[in-house]
Symmetry: C2
Subunit: 322 residues, 2 copies
Amino acid sequence: MKYLFTNVVGSFVLDDQLEIIDSLPFANMQEYEHKENTEQKLKKRHPQLTPLPLDKLPKVLLQFKDPQYYNAFYAPNLALTKAAIKQSVTEDIFVMQTIANINELDKTINLLSKRVREWCGWYAPEVVARISDHEKLMELIGGRSRTELLKELKESDTMGADIPKVHVDEILLLARQVRELFRLREQHETYLQKVMQKYCPNVMELAGVTLGAKLIELGKGLKHLALLPASTIQLLGAEKALFRHIKTGARSPKHGIIINHPLIQNAAKTSKGKAARMLADKISLCARLDYFKGEFKAKEYRKELEGKLKEDHSSLKSGNNP
Amino acid sequence: MKYLFTNVVGSFVLDDQLEIIDSLPFANMQEYEHKENTEQKLKKRHPQLTPLPLDKLPKVLLQFKDPQYYNAFYAPNLALTKAAIKQSVTEDIFVMQTIANINELDKTINLLSKRVREWCGWYAPEVVARISDHEKLMELIGGRSRTELLKELKESDTMGADIPKVHVDEILLLARQVRELFRLREQHETYLQKVMQKYCPNVMELAGVTLGAKLIELGKGLKHLALLPASTIQLLGAEKALFRHIKTGARSPKHGIIINHPLIQNAAKTSKGKAARMLADKISLCARLDYFKGEFKAKEYRKELEGKLKEDHSSLKSGNNP
């Protein structure tokens, strides 16, 4: 009984005591990548070779702790692993990192904007109260020099205090920072759009940039998303409600994060569940098209959905629902 | 029976039917501020005037709804209130806003730094792992142009992926933003130090900038802090543990936020409670000195505390604790 065993060092022939009786070491990585050639050569020399059974592997590997092999074994193996890690970085990762960061930026912006509001409220409460949009207020406060700000922000008949300049500067600096964070968020979105345009045009077209990216994040990558059943996609992001349903028998959720899609937002209350199911179906198809590099069909799908949901909506309104 | 009644419009003499029988309106706010003069004049004209009893006030005030008085009544009253609000803005508010913002910046910085780490880790995992300090890493990544970064950050033998430039830009922008947040935080601290140096030099000297500001925040202003008993100051920030103690009889907390003070940090484990009590005593004194514009005594107090705690520490160590 003779065994054939190949690793990154070379190809080996072992006898039934698992001693090495013949070997052909690889000269470089190229030879390892085409290991069939080397194995073929050994098979010619030893006509009756069987592949090494898995249960004998640990014993064989022990031999490679021998200094004779160890270096030849360790370094290329490490290099191979590193290369595999390198290869594993796909667009998925960037889409997921970016959408996660957009979410975090949103939280941050909200937190710091509220602080600017409160802080600046001591100086110009009327202006702060009038402008309810965070971004506009940050543009107003952060986009000015201190002198301009002191003049423009204050209404003649204000109950805001006259604040020494040294205090105003801190508010100004913070507002500027928040304004920059708003801009970074915008930049991230533009970038995300570019990446997704190439990587998953169908998903992006049908679900939109933000929702599409979130679905990829929740689905743990485009590949995995493409392999998920449509019913799972329908409930992505509603895991808590789903498990509550399973555990306690509470009502099952009808939609996860895709509730944010305009098609579902605009659907009648009674047909939201149906709309979610139909949309999830199409998104699932889109993810598959994108992952397997298929055609661009998202526009058709969207029209189809719009048509069906409209019909549904109007038949409901006219009371013709059977 | 004749009553004297003064409001922002003027001074009035009322008969026992509460009808106005004489009046001296104020010409301006100055006259209102020195209302005694006007009242004196009326008292001379009507020798036996008594101040209006409180229970008759509602009926009298109704008369001022009359258009004859309403405008003269409403506008100055509003102005007075606004002025009072204006006056109420003290340094307290800036100290509290700033320290609250520093806390929020810390949270934000932590959140976004972790994101940079994860994101950048796909490109240069070795560098990210080696530099464990967030601020240093942000300086390294955020302080460079894209080309420099691509060259310098990568180790020759890396398992990081080769990332197209378009992705690197996003990481770079985020890292720069976080670096700016670090700088803003630093700037806030310098500013806080300046404000507190003037406003509460004793508290700042004894408790330090950050801890002092937090105590003012938790104590709801320097005035309120100065009026709190030392035992309350000792437990500021440990409210949860205190109420648990009261409710469930769990062990009472020995120190609140002042545990962060170096004197308590360095105290022996068994004398932390005692150290906290002594420190809280002195901080309470400092707050009073600062609020009532007393001398600068914090340095003395600090030395006294250091001496006592050292004694305590050494007697403990040599086993002489009675």
